[in-house]
């Protein structure tokens, strides 16, 4: 069946097209190429999701080697959905950037699209692969690509941010590699399924090795996915890149690593093994700390993009929170939150991007009353903000609700307070933005209605994203059920 090779196909397809981009002199061509390839990948991902839905998960052996030796791709429904979300968000982000990227930067346009393609390809690789070392390679590729995107604007903040990101990422991947070495040394396998089977048998003899490995993976991937105290690179990196890049970095890149962490913790080791160590509690604590501190730090920011970047820290906190709960529902919700947040955060970054683009201001104080000038964009932003705060039916609310239920299920009632406090804090920094831009006599003085509105065609991708946000919220039941079915 050709469909079984679709996952690999998307990865290879994206890589190949990206390498051909430098061949073309004109930026326009790479721009369109990137858009076309990404949209094709999304269609393919959609097909594979549908296929998986009806025929079960795909195990695909690369180059026909059998499992323990060759590289294997494993695409279940979760991977499928995440892949679909990644490709479609990327498509929409690129669609958006097709109109706007030139306005914020003059050079290296073609290079940007090349990096995006590589980045998405490698992220898909991280999501799909069933091979640890393969995952490591994809991590490194994606790191380089992501750093490249950060530094695509030739400004000193960008360079510094990229360097910080790079150094921490290298450290993280070093730990991951170390972890892989440990795992390999005790199991002799790199294929996740096989490692798991092996570990079940032998983990009793290698308790401290397993423990150290767990820590290496958690920290290694944690730093890449901005687990709370290790988030320091994130705001600089995300806030300085172009809007579409921020959307992808914040919405997708972080999620790929955290998803890999989930795979390693629960597929490679399995709940049985990790529940012997208090690791999950530590993750839960850090997750909660992230939820609170991310928001608190966001309140203190004055640059709107930094606010949203810090909000990402808080939202990643939710995902770690879900992982840390260590029960089925928590995990399922962590994955649901990956999806929901990917969409919401991209929406937010893209709408803020267009606001900054149109007004040239990025300070909160300068953005007052902007709702009158660009009501459509700001309405989109408002919907995103509502989701973050947790207004019912939007995905943010669904996540919070089920996270809460999961923590009750796990018997961790006190942590409910964290969820509530964090959503209140979310309200505390999102609402003033919304209110000050829409309302207020002083704020609206001198603003002309719809004067800075973006043309509707440029807003289409953002509108589509908003629609997706709603859909994810409304059809949460199906998604969550599918995730739970495929979880272990």
């Amino acid at each position: 069946m050709i469909i079984k090779s679709f996952p690999l196909l998307t990865i290879i397809f994206l890589f190949i097209t990206s390498f051909t981009m430098p061949l073309f002199k004109k930026d326009v061509i790479s721009k369109r190429l990137s858009f076309i390839t990404l949209s094709i990948s999304s269609v393919i991902s959609l097909i594979s999701v549908i296929y998986i839905k009806f025929n079960g998960e795909i195990y695909y052996r690369v180059g026909h080697w059998d499992a323990p030796w060759g590289i294997e791709l494993h695409v279940g429904i979760i991977e499928g959905i995440i892949g679909l979300v990644f490709t479609s968000v990327a498509t929409l982000a690129i669609w958006y950037s097709m109109f706007s990227l030139e306005r914020s930067m003059k050079e290296r346009i073609g290079f940007y699209y090349l990096l995006i393609n590589i980045l998405i390809g490698s992220l898909l690789g991280i999501v799909y692969t069933n091979d640890l070392f393969n995952a490591f390679v994809f991590i490194e590729v994606s790191t380089i690509a992501a750093c490249g995107i950060v530094v695509i604007k030739n400004k000193k903040e960008n360079i510094k941010a990229a360097l910080k990101y790079l150094i921490l990422s290298i450290l993280g991947s070093g730990l991951v590699l170390m972890g892989i070495a440990f795992i390999y040394s005790i199991t002799g396998n790199l294929n996740m399924t096989f490692i798991h089977n092996e570990l079940i048998k032998i983990h009793g003899q290698y308790q401290s090795t397993v423990l150290i490995t767990l820590v290496l993976f958690t920290i290694g991937l944690g730093v890449k996915s901005a687990m709370f105290p290790l988030h320091t690179w994130l705001p600089d990196a995300h806030s300085n890149s172009p809007a579409s890049a921020s959307a992808i970095l914040s919405g997708l890149v972080l999620k790929a690593y955290v998803f890999l962490l989930i795979k390693i913790l629960f597929r490679v080791f399995g709940l049985e093994i990790i529940s012997q160590y208090p690791l999950l509690d530590l993750i839960l604590i850090l997750g909660s700390a992230g939820m609170i501190m991310g928001s608190v730090l966001a309140i203190l920011q004055r640059n709107i993009k930094r606010v949203i970047a810090y909000s990402s820290v808080a939202q990643m906190g939710y995902i770690f929170y879900g992982i840390g709960l260590g029960n089925e529902l928590g995990l399922a919700m962590a994955i649901y939150h990956i999806i929901g947040h990917a969409l919401t955060k991209s929406t937010l970054f893209l709408s803020v991007g267009s606001i900054i683009e149109q007004t040239g201001n990025h300070k909160l104080t300068d953005l007052r009353g902007v709702g009158k000038e660009m009501p459509v964009t700001l309405s989109i932003f408002t919907i995103g903000a509502f989701s973050m705060v947790g207004i019912p039916i939007l995905p943010g609310f669904i996540s919070k609700w089920y996270f809460a239920l999961a923590s009750i299920e796990a018997g961790k009632l006190l942590y409910l307070g964290v969820i509530l406090a964090s959503s209140l804090l979310n309200a505390l920094y999102y609402f003033p933005i919304v209110i000050n831009s829409f309302f207020g006599e002083e704020n609206l003085k001198g603003r002309v209605y719809m004067s800075k509105n973006k043309p509707l065609k440029e807003l289409v991708p953002v509108l589509v994203l908003t629609l997706l946000v709603f859909l994810i919220g409304i059809f949460n039941k199906g998604i969550i059920d599918a995730i739970r079915l495929d979880l272990f």
């Binding site: 390679v137 170390m178 070495a181 390999y184």
Partner: protein
């Protein structure tokens, strides 16, 4: 103690890792930091490869000595580490490139000095 001496490869790797990490931590000079990272990477490679090596066995490319499976060491770690080295080199290259850029913009590669001149 016995274990440390027996597994001298691993011991060495860990020591190297520590050296690398400390270098990374304590030096303000960006180049030295990158060197520290390289040392760390090397430590990991050493560790990984040592896992693949068994005393007295041959590499699987040497055909004459032992044709059986037991005669050869596992070639996979070595192969993996080749990939790893490539990745590490590219990373280093990228980091160095960024360092040059940074020097262009800030005029120094001492991080503590850069820290003091916050732009915003």
């Amino acid at each position: 103690m016995q274990g440390i001496i027996t597994n001298y490869f691993e011991t060495g790797a860990i020591i190297l890792f520590g050296v690398g990490f400390v270098t990374l931590l304590l030096h303000n000079n960006l180049i030295k930091k990158i060197i520290g990272m390289n040392i760390m990477d090397t430590a990991i490679f050493l560790f990984f490869i040592s896992k693949g090596y068994i005393e007295g066995r041959e590499a699987p490319i040497v055909k004459e000595i032992n044709a059986t499976k037991e005669g050869f060491v596992n070639p996979l770690p070595t192969g993996l580490m080749l990939t790893g080295i490539v990745v590490a080199v590219s990373m280093t290259a990228f980091a160095l490139a960024l360092t040059i850029k940074l020097y262009e913009k800030y005029g120094t590669i001492e991080l503590n000095e850069i820290m003091k001149m916050r732009s915003d």
